[in-house]
């Protein structure tokens, strides 16, 4: 392991953050059954990607920024956002991170460096580059982390942006979370590199940019790769494309239905569409959260008691988030017209 391997305390921090994301999102998912109608629209979970998210953000410094997609619950929790405010946003309440105006797809917490999330595939990639240009001009060695999916790399915005980022040596790390699917489409069905058995990080060659593929279910591996990319960016040597291979453990999102139909999370598309339970079950067996806990326990970094304590603290934290969010009032109707113009 590289010199910048996180120490024991930091590894516990990483595990704790992973568990916080997982538990938060389990509460999101349960809301559909426990409190029908409280979450509306489309909600996307990051279960399976926690190691990638936390490993990527573990070198985040004040002044850095992160931007992501509609699948955006995990990042702000790691960066310091209050899960109460995050849950309240997902419930459309006035105490939400975005005062109930944005919802699950658009979590934003500028105070914690989480700059904005677009629901349009690929659209956030240039936003990240723009923030990186700002950082470059400020000259304080700040970096921007840009998260997006494998499918997004087939949107023109991806190619256009990576070319400019490379050309301008922007301090930006492009983290592609490759979960193997774009909704119900597998990568090999929609990506020429994947169809040819190549890693998606090979796309970096079209932008004269380093491209690396990493096991996104191993937070320390992600940490190693992303922190090297971050160091490169901070040093003014430009961006890196990191392909982080994960598996999403929930369906793409909750079902899409008009009002009146109760929403829920269906089974993963590997099962419902492709009849491939084996694939899904293998992924479940590799679930990064219990796996990393196991490794920490095995390595003597975490005792089972400490692990149980973390679990119960996190459970309590997320229960409190649900309780808080359920009690938070709806915004006033006037606020619906308030933030269109600055």
């Amino acid at each position: 392991m590289s010199v910048n391997t996180p120490n024991a305390e930091r590894q516990i921090w990483i595990y704790t953050q992973m568990l916080r994301i997982r538990t938060f999102e389990e509460r999101v998912k349960r809301t559909f059954t426990d409190h029908p109608g409280v979450i509306r629209g489309h909600t996307h979970l990051a279960d399976g990607a926690e190691a990638s998210i936390v490993g990527s953000l573990s070198g985040f410094k004040k002044g850095d920024a992160a931007l992501a997609t509609y699948r955006c619950h995990g990042y702000p929790l790691v960066l310091g956002s209050d899960p109460k405010a995050a849950m309240a946003e997902i419930y459309g309440r006035v105490d939400g991170l975005c005062k109930g105006l944005g919802g699950s797809m658009h979590l934003t917490d500028v105070a914690h460096g989480f700059l904005g999330t677009s629901g349009i595939v690929g659209a956030g990639i240039p936003h990240a580059a723009g923030a990186a240009w700002a950082a470059q001009i400020r000259g304080k060695e700040e970096v921007v982390l840009c998260f997006f999916g494998d499918g997004a790399s087939k949107q023109g915005a991806f190619a256009e942006t990576l070319n400019i980022a490379s050309l301008w040596k922007l301090p930006c790390v492009f983290v592609m979370e490759n979960n193997g699917y774009n909704v119900v489409t597998t990568s090999a069905q929609e990506d020429a590199n994947a169809a040819a058995g190549e890693p998606l990080s090979i796309k970096a060659k079209a932008f004269a940019m380093p491209g690396v593929t990493v096991d996104g279910t191993d937070p320390l591996a992600v940490h190693a790769v992303v922190s090297e990319a971050v160091a490169r960016a901070r040093a003014g040597h430009g961006p890196t494309l990191v392909e982080s291979k994960v598996y999403r453990l929930s369906a793409h999102g909750n079902i899409i239905a008009p009002p009146g139909v109760p929403l829920h999370y269906p089974e993963h598309e590997a099962i419902t569409v492709f009849g491939n339970s084996a694939e899904y079950e293998a992924a479940l067996r590799g679930d990064p959260v219990p796996r990393f806990r196991g490794i920490l326990v095995q390595n003597g970094i975490l005792t089972p008691e400490h692990a149980a304590k973390i679990t119960s603290e996190v459970d309590a934290e997320m229960q409190a988030a649900v309780d808080f969010a359920l009690k938070s009032p709806f915004p006033t109707l006037e606020s619906a017209l308030q933030y269109n113009y600055a």
């Binding site: 509306r40 087939k154 008009p258």
Partner: protein, 319 residues
């Protein structure tokens, strides 16, 4: 006649045309990913394909395939996703016939949902109809019933021009009687959804239902509203609207879009040019508030047009 939901009626329209015409293609994201997909099974992968998330290429490929003799139908899911490819929609597809002096035609259908105001928040719930309505060479279809969903889809596919077919997401599961067998609904022919002599209400898509509900309430008050659903907004059946205005002299226009992005303003402007002398009152528009759509449920409801809002506007023009 079969009773079926709007969403099934759209598929029925595509099937109708794919069966009769081997040049019809159907493709887009997240469809046809297994051999069990109903369109793949019937028409094969040559004609039915899944694409990456690449709307510019998808629509551009449709333009090219159309110029080369096929009739592509592109599944786009949400109208907003066309925004990344607006050049292909408004500055490529509808231009090539013209710029080539009539050498090519570009028959294609861009199928996209819109208006999904049920918690989809700021970027997925737009009513983008007017972006397309004014583009020469482009036709724009907005069915409000299951029967029209089928018949207008079939007509869209047969039309030799690029057609933006906008289905309303809130109507997805609305059932209706749909003619069996070949069913075509002509373009440029409005439907009078309810006859009445006191006031003309023009509404499209999901707001047709609001207008009909309002008309019911108003009837109880003795105000008889005529509710017109243009069904296609390019071409627009101005004639039917103007005839109604001649009769009623009073007009309320309903649109789910924000006011300055609405089709209702197109209609208002046409009426005041062509039937000014028939008008007895201001033309009122009932539209969405001038705002990005909020996520929170009560806020979302508060910014959309309502039946009560339509009633209020009608009472005003009939006062």
């Amino acid at each position: 006649m079969a009773n079926m939901p709007y969403i099934a009626a759209i598929d029925a329209g595509i099937h109708q045309e794919m069966r009769r015409d081997p040049s019809v293609l159907y493709f887009g994201q997240n469809l046809a990913t297994t051999e069990n997909h109903e369109f793949v099974k019937e028409y094969g992968h040559n004609r039915v394909r899944v694409t990456p998330i690449s709307e510019t290429a998808e629509i551009g490929i449709a333009v090219g395939a159309a110029m080369a003799g096929f009739r592509p139908v592109v599944e786009l899911y949400m109208a907003e996703f066309m925004l990344v490819a607006m050049d292909q929609v408004t500055n490529e597809a509808p231009r090539f016939r013209y710029m080539s002096g009539g050498q090519v035609k570009v028959p294609l259908v861009l199928k996209a949902g819109y208006g999904f105001a049920c918690g989809w928040a700021g970027q997925h719930t737009g009513t983008l109809t007017n972006l397309f309505a004014g583009v020469p060479g482009l036709k724009v279809v907005i069915p409000s019933t299951a029967a029209d969903a089928k018949g207008l889809m079939a007509t869209s596919i047969r039309d030799d021009n690029p057609v933006v077919y906008l289905h309303h997401y809130l109507l997805t599961l609305e059932h209706g009687e749909v003619p069996d067998g070949e069913h075509l609904v002509p373009f440029g022919k409005a439907a009078i959804r309810r006859a009445g002599g006191d006031v003309t209400i023009v509404a499209t898509g999901w707001t047709v239902g609001l207008a009909l509900a309002a008309a019911e309430t108003l009837a109880a008050e003795g105000i008889h509203a005529e509710v017109i659903d243009p069904r296609t907004i390019a071409p627009l059946d101005l004639e039917t609207i103007l005839s109604s205005v001649e009769k009623t002299g009073r007009v309320v226009l309903v649109d789910q879009a924000t006011r300055h992005a609405s089709v209702s303003q197109i209609i208002a402007a046409d009426i005041v040019e062509h039937r000014f002398s028939s008008l007895k009152a201001p033309i009122l528009q009932v539209t969405a508030a001038n705002t990005t759509i909020p996520y929170s449920e009560p806020l979302e409801a508060s910014v959309l047009p309502t039946a009560a809002g339509i009633c209020a506007a009608v009472r005003k023009v009939c006062a």
